[in-house]
Subunit: 147 residues, 4 copies
């Protein structure tokens, strides 16, 4: 299953070339992952209150074509792999049929209040994904590609 | 040769976890690359006026540990590879001895005014790196690692 | 008539106090004014292509109460005064019944391509609001308050 | 006494008009006020650890002329009025002799951990400025203008 979230590009997110400034695609990634989480599991904050947090450990972005002011774009999300304590997500940002940016993000599960942030803070170790998280995400795991 | 640029983390760049919001590391990458360019080749805008622009084609960020409000951090830049029309840069963001984020960025050279942006816009092809750009960057190419 | 635009607060817009960083309210102002313009007059870019641009000359923000991550907030827009070449807008940002921020913005009309920006650039003078802009905005001019 | 802090405009802070996006001037205000505080009183975080925080209650910005990518700009800070629990600051942002933006900010002192944010949060009342804060700021209070 693929989750998709539509955004409209804001003027202040664009740079002097008239296109979205590259850092802002990670902002879109964050917004889309929050909405994906709401759809699959409920509000992000509920998870934190249950004692678990999920932090970004790695991101890879390949820029194919720029988005522009006022464009409506779709951020599409599918899980590539659910590990013991990590979630690897494939996303892309598209305008209509055109894929503008291809994205891969690895999140890691940590104890909430462990002062998690992007990546693992000092002295914080990852914790296994709780069953209820795993169950909510499983429908979005893409089947392995067949040769 | 390694180029290093020091920044102080701004309050508005930090998120509710008290640490730098992940997208803002790409903002630091952009600031550091601009200062690196000034050091190696002069102001960015001078290049554009000479008819060449350099756009981001791919970024990879691995988050090890977070930076916090008011931290002084160093963005260190070295070139990994100068291709025919591309520049692959290794950066890291460190606080003192600690590497917080490891970064790899691939830039591509395009004709200025070709409406370049992050990645190659439609109908825009890359152009070879001009000799004066290549000459200015060569001192920063790291020697190949030996077994 | 009052125009209202709903937004959801993004994680990256919040600061270490867990609330929207103050500068980002001006980002919301910009988004809401763009959507107001679309509703009253059509896409912003169409105006620019007709040779007119509208730039921010002054903003006043009074912060009453903070918005938080994941809040749904409404930016409400009404015109206070249409001058010869200026538009004075009253906005507020509310969560449900609670007004969080009270805002006053003065825009000025300039020739497009005159390199307008926030405020009047050097050597650029304001131009009268075109009739079609005035006609589209008039329904949103709030009637004078009666003693 | 006037405090001044120099900044270089970042590419990602500029918009498609090639100038600083208006919200980002409030980011500069925050950076400059933090540096002013460090100069007058020490690191912001030290104040918070002493149980006091200072939140933005009102801002007024008048835009005269835009700043552009790579400009070096000075944010100049002087106190206009120290109230019982509030600080009214006049700032301007200048490029060389040219004042680009004139700014007035009112901060209010609250108990730290009172979940202060921009403006007074619900159920939070202001507290008097501690003597050590007042003493540190007094040298920066501009004398009253004479006729």
């Amino acid at each position: 299953m693929i989750f998709s979230h539509r955004l409209r590009v804001r003027y202040g997110e664009c740079d002097p070339q008239g296109i979205v400034f590259n850092a802002n695609y990670l902002l879109y990634v964050d917004v889309a992952f929050t909405e994906f989480w709401r759809h699959a599991l409920g509000p992000w904050q509920d998870m934190v209150e249950r004692g678990v947090d999920v932090v970004v450990a790695e991101t890879n972005l390949r820029f194919h074509s720029p988005a522009r002011f006022d464009d409506e774009i779709d951020v599409r999300v599918r899980i590539d792999r659910l590990g013991e304590s990590s979630i690897t997500t494939e996303m892309d940002i598209a305008r209509g049929e055109d894929v503008l940016v291809a994205i891969r993000v690895r999140h890691v599960c940590v104890a909430a209040g462990a002062d998690g942030g992007p990546g693992l803070p000092e002295n914080v170790t990852s914790t296994p994904l709780p069953d209820w998280v795993r169950a909510g995400l499983e429908p979005f795991v893409a089947p392995a590609q067949i040769g």
